[in-house]
């Protein structure tokens, strides 16, 4: 067969004659030519499996399959997964909560379907082998494996009665499209006539540059834009006083991947352009790549005003740790080093833009639509009202999609050309240019008295914040506040600095530096316990914060759940220690160990306002609309906020129509970060629900316990004594078209921190403790995590199934952080050199949800999203040490490092 004429494809039983190059990736043909966007692309390299389709019943990566190879075969995509096995699988995925962001779901479904069609009674090992080629960054795989094993399950999904939504494990409300492949992510929209946008990036860490003859280079129909074309102020950043990042570099670049030019034109032309030939002359300069170089005397300063390359230092001080350390019975000291960690969501950044009247519409993946709007508007010189951000379904974010990425490029092209456009980052672009978890170099000392009570602790450390500010200030401020852990430390000094280098930007990543600090603190506490001869769990229990205690910031706490979390681990701890001891007595080549670690985490911005606003409206037709602006990146806000609102208003969840998020339709709910949405947006939703209920009850003169039922054109309200009907058609609609409405804002009551970091940084904290059981291969240094028991105080589990999903997903990321993840700029910018856990790397996870209600949170709820990964890595490290003596101070605990540390410990 030559590349002339059409290629015949059979997809989901239908024949198509394709006029396309025979060597084209099948994934591109399916998505772009056939519109079958259920097949996802995460890497174009076989590493993620999101593109898995069946070719003659066998799973293959569509991204590695040339079109010609698929010719003559039968291709099945998720859209064609309509046989009984497929239908059952989708139902099981929904029932089990196996889809969070959902970007991996089509690939998982296809891989599972191939297995089950071959062997319907496959066991766990077979399921793991079958799913081993599909990566999921959200779920920790547990619910996915459960769903596949329970494909024949007849259970009906959990439903919630009116008034009982809070606490019900209902399936996610937005889950349907995620499991049938119809969810539309940033890359799934192809506006008619859209130009394709690509960008030219710096291959250097630091360089000056000059453009050559761009006009001569650009093929016909291709437009090129540079900083000179940007109408607005060429500077953005997530924290306005620190905004320092240009959307398009001007004359010099400070990091690899920094954008210098935007190229747009007809897709077939732009796709084939070799951007390595773009006329730009680079004049590389010696980069600053280490903290030492950045802080050395006379080092080049990346940003004029930031002396010594220090972006900011955060401090918390109370008492006099120096004196207390000197006189203490038990003293220990540790130093740790952690690397860059990549978010590795499976969906690379993608989106589209178009004009609607005079308004620039940008539909892209995001965690913070309002921030996107304001930053993009400023860069493009537009008033914010002229930019509308419609968040596309987002295939994972974990903090990185808080910062704008491709929004200004999409906006600029559409603004300048008047044409719609689209852009999709390659995996390499995504990994090279977006933010990372800050590498940390931390040192701490702590002391306890003879009874095992902590008397003092000092913490000092540097965080590599990379070339631009991003969330560096948040990390520097959060770390000193949290580095004590949820413990009483009467004498405490902590300082953390965010330091600029020419490395990738250290940004927001689940925990804002607290996971790194917890590794330090929790391994240090093991040292103290071991030195002092205390049981490691008991040592933590003795020192755990209690209601009425003051934190290192001097804040008096209520609703403290750390004690309850540690208590919940007491029995599992005893059992696990006994099991490990028995095992080790019988084996030499592998040894088992048990470790524990705890966490606390303040929900919302640190001592800064971060309000959320929720609008509820009733239409004349009798529909109740919940305007919910919190982006759900898989964590479940769409479901949890609706559950809270339903109970506050007193209707069934099914009575609520969800609207948004969309900056044109939903009031600001702030960003999806800092574990704030369940608490803060949830609180606003509770208040809006209660406010609307109060109005309805007042109008009908009904008692507190009345039941509200919407029906076409009316609300029916009844209490035990009688029933009233509100005729909605008779009421005057407001400006939003609602005949009844309520809008409520909530901003956590926090207080500024003083010079010594004393104050009320957060109104609500969540707590947790995890126990890890590991097995270390004494000959190879490899570590297998066998089980993690995770007790998390969520205040109130609004949706226990979603909470469990968060715990499992957080543990997967914590396990990666502990054992395998290390981003090396310029070296691991793909998913085969940068390793994240696969289904085969996950331990058994036992979640224990603790409910110590918070006086402030909605229905007592606290945040959870980031807490869940904080204790995992230190619990694993402590377990490794227990098993084999290896004290890992440089992460990740690669097998070679474990073996070396074992030797050092004399094993």
């Amino acid at each position: 067969m030559k590349d002339t004429g059409a290629i015949r494809l059979t997809v989901n039983g239908a024949r198509h004659d394709m006029i396309a190059p025979p060597g084209r990736r099948l994934s591109a043909v399916l998505r772009e030519d056939l519109g079958l966007t259920g097949t996802k692309v995460g890497c174009d390299a076989g590493d993620c499996g999101a593109c898995t389709v069946l070719l003659d019943a066998e799973p293959v990566c569509a991204c590695l399959t040339p079109l010609a190879r698929a010719a003559g075969g039968e291709i099945t995509t998720v859209e064609g997964l309509t046989d009984e096995t497929g239908t059952r699988l989708k139902a099981a995925f929904l029932r089990h909560g196996a889809a969070q962001c959902g970007i991996c779901t089509p690939g998982m479904l296809m891989a599972a379907a191939a297995l089950l069609r071959r062997d319907p009674s496959s066991d766990r090992a077979a399921v793991e082998d079958a799913l081993g080629g599909v990566l999921c960054r959200c779920t920790g795989y547990a619910k996915i494996v459960d769903a596949v094993l329970d494909v024949a399950g007849q259970d009906r999904p959990v439903t919630a009665a009116t008034g009982a939504a809070v606490g019900a494990a209902i399936p996610r409300l937005d889950g349907g499209p995620k499991v049938d492949g119809t969810e539309s992510y940033g890359a799934d929209l192809f506006p008619a006539g859209a130009l394709l946008v690509r960008v030219v990036r710096s291959p250097h860490f630091a360089a000056r540059f000059a453009f050559g003859d761009i006009a001569a280079w650009a093929p016909e129909g291709v437009r090129v834009f540079t900083a000179a074309d940007l109408p607005g102020e060429n500077r953005f950043g997530t924290i306005p006083p620190f905004a320092d990042q240009p959307a398009l570099a001007e004359g010099c670049v400070r990091m690899r991947g920094e954008v210098v030019a935007v190229v747009a034109g007809p897709p077939e032309v732009v796709e084939g352009l070799d951007l390595d030939r773009f006329p730009v002359e680079w004049m590389p300069e010696p980069p600053i790549l280490t903290l030492d170089d950045a802080r050395a005397a006379g080092a080049v300063q990346l940003h004029g005003s930031r002396e010594g390359n220090i972006l900011i230092a955060g401090r918390v001080r109370c008492g006099d740790p120096g004196a207390a350390l000197d006189g203490a019975e038990v003293v220990a000291e540790v130093a740790i080093e952690t690397p860059f960690v990549e978010h590795a969501y499976i969906e690379p950044e993608a989106g589209a833009a178009w004009m609607e009247g005079g308004v620039l519409v940008i539909r892209a993946c995001t965690q913070a639509p309002m921030m996107d709007r304001d930053d993009t508007a400023r860069l493009l010189g537009l008033p914010p009202e002229r930019v509308r951000i419609i968040p596309a379904a987002t295939g994972g974010g974990f903090g990185s999609k808080l910062d704008i990425t491709l929004q200004p490029y999409l906006g600029l092209v559409t603004l300048k050309t008047g044409r719609p456009c689209r852009m999709v980052y390659t995996r390499r672009e995504s990994m090279a240019s977006t933010t990372k978890r800050h590498p940390a170099r931390l040192r701490a000392r702590a002391a306890a008295d003879a009874a095992g009570r902590l008397v003092a602790m000092t913490v000092d450390g540097d965080f590599d914040t990379g070339a631009y500010a991003s969330w560096g200030p948040t990390v520097a401020v959060r770390v000193p506040v949290h580095a004590s852990g949820p413990f009483r430390v009467p004498n405490y000094h902590a300082e953390a600095r965010a330091v600029h280098t020419n490395n990738p930007i250290g940004g927001a990543f689940r925990g804002f530096g607290v996971p790194q600090a917890a590794i330090l603190q929790e391994t240090l506490f093991d040292d103290l316990a071991i030195r002092g001869g205390f049981d490691r769990l008991a040592f933590r229990r003795v020192n755990a914060l209690r209601d009425g205690d003051r934190t290192v910031c001097g804040q008096r706490l209520q609703g403290v759940g750390i004690g309850a979390c540690l208590d919940a681990l007491a029995e599992p701890w005893r059992d696990a220690l006994a099991r490990a001891e028995a095992f080790n007595a019988a084996h030499g080549g592998v040894r088992r160990g048990v470790g524990v670690a705890s966490c606390w985490y303040g929900c919302g911005n640190t001592a800064l306002p971060n309000p959320s606003t929720i609008r509820l409206g009733v239409t004349a037709e009798g529909r109740i609309r919940l305007h919910q602006g919190a982006t759900d990146i898989g964590q479940g806000a769409n479901t949890v906020i609706a559950q809270i609102c339903a109970d506050a208003l007193g209707v069934a969840v099914a009575d609520l129509d969800l609207v948004g998020p969309d900056t044109a339709l939903t009031p600001d709910c702030g960003k999806t970060s800092a574990s704030r949405q369940t608490y803060i947006t949830g609180k606003a939703a509770e208040m809006a629900g209660r406010a609307l209920r109060a109005r309805i009850l007042a109008m009908t003169n009904m008692g507190e316990d009345a039941v509200i039922r919407p029906e076409p054109g009316a609300l029916r309200v009844s209490d035990g004594r009688g029933e009233r009907r509100i005729d909605l058609v008779a009421l005057e609609p407001d400006g939003n078209g609602y005949v009844l409405a309520a809008e409520e804002s909530y901003d956590p009551p926090t207080g500024a921190l003083d010079e010594s970091g004393q104050g009320v940084p957060y109104a609500v904290y969540g707590y947790g403790a995890q126990m890890a059981e590991v097995e270390v291969d004494m000959g190879l240094g490899t570590v297998k995590v066998r089980r993690i028991t995770a007790a998390h105080d969520v205040g109130r589990a609004i949706n226990p199934a979603l909470a469990e999903g968060q715990i499992e997903g957080g543990i997967a990321q914590g396990l990666g952080l502990a054992l395998m993840e290390e981003f090396v700029p310029g070296r691991t910018e793909n998913l085969h050199d940068y390793l994240i856990p696969t289904v085969g790397d996950m331990p058994e996870i036992r979640s224990i949800l603790i409910e110590v209600p918070d006086p402030e949170g909605p229905f007592g709820a606290k945040g959870l999203g980031e807490h869940v990964l904080i204790p995992t890595a230190p619990a694993i490290l402590n377990a490794i040490r227990h098993a084999c003596g290896a004290r890992i101070t440089r992460l990740p605990a690669r097998p070679d490092r474990v073996l070396a540390a074992m030797r050092e410990a004399g094993r």
């Binding site: 590349d3 025979p22 060597g23 174009d44 076989g46 590695l64 856990p837």
Partner: protein, 281 residues
């Protein structure tokens, strides 16, 4: 650009190749990851429709593994125990998706230092069958792989099959791979071991190590020192110094060189212990 030929006979394929300038493509699991383009770049000769290139057959002189035989085909083939290590390697290559597309010859031609197919085929003393319009030739695998990412293929030549001689398709075998995660992982170290046992003695044995030198290696010196010993002693008697001397690993993001040396020894010992019934550890 985007010129792709997909012939159905070997003759046709060789003729097209002899015009020059074409890249052979089979499963494309190495070719596609090497480009960000949506279309395979350059002129391509797709081998997957060529008849007679796929599948494993027993011949009078041994076994023939066709060039486009996939790793899944290897896993499903009926083969004697000497090939267990090849199957164990097949199961460890990437994921099911990769095994369904990736081919044996592709793995050899890609010539990665960490190619998992190479140590078992070295330990089977496989020969590579090469063809061009000018005829066919055979090379021992150890000579076929000329260096990292380099083979002895000349312009116009294709690999058509891999042969395992009757003599070396004997004994029991074991492949062990060490990676930093369970699936989809490039080997930090891999080893293959084959032992032919007669009356409790290792009559012949073959040991190979991957990812510890520019190309995977047979440890002929080490083998020689072990041959003729009681199988129960093999693991213990392994000459650590000789293994270390043969290997020349590097430091990279996966592990340090010194660790690779040590891990190779540990894995070789375990493979030998497994094979000779001592169980693990």
């Amino acid at each position: 650009m985007a010129d792709q030929a997909r012939p159905e006979t070997l003759r046709e394929a060789l003729a097209i190749l002899s015009d020059g300038g074409r890249v052979a493509a089979a499963g494309c699991t190495d070719l596609f990851p090497a480009t960000e383009s949506q279309t395979l770049p350059g002129a391509v000769l797709d081998l997957t429709a060529v008849s007679g290139l796929r599948g494993i057959s027993a011949t009078a002189r041994g076994w023939r593994i066709g060039a486009t035989t996939t790793w899944t085909d290897v896993l499903r083939a009926d083969l004697p125990p000497a090939f267990d290590m090849l199957k164990q390697a097949a199961r460890e290559i990437g994921s099911v998706q990769i095994q369904n597309a990736g081919t044996v010859a592709g793995n050899l031609c890609n010539a990665s230092p960490a190619a998992d197919g190479v140590p078992p085929l070295l330990a089977l003393e496989a020969e590579v069958e090469i063809a061009s319009v000018n005829g066919a030739r055979r090379l021992p695998l150890a000579r076929f792989i000329a260096g990292p990412r380099r083979t002895a293929l000349r312009p116009g030549e294709l690999v058509t099959a891999v042969h395992v001689p009757m003599d070396t398709g004997k004994g029991r075998s074991r492949f062990l791979k060490l990676g930093a995660r369970r699936y989809l992982v490039i080997s930090i170290v891999s080893v293959a071991a084959r032992v032919v046992e007669t009356d409790g003695v290792a009559e012949a044995l073959a040991l190979a190590v991957g990812a510890c030198s520019p190309v995977p290696l047979r440890l002929t010196e080490v083998e020689r020192a072990l041959a003729g010993r009681p199988v129960g002693e093999l693991a213990e008697a392994l000459d650590v110094g000789a293994v270390h001397a043969a290997l020349s690993p590097i430091d990279d993001v996966r592990a340090e060189a010194a660790y690779r040396r040590e891990a190779a020894v540990t894995l070789l010992r375990r493979a030998l212990a497994d094979l000779t019934g001592q169980g693990r550890r």
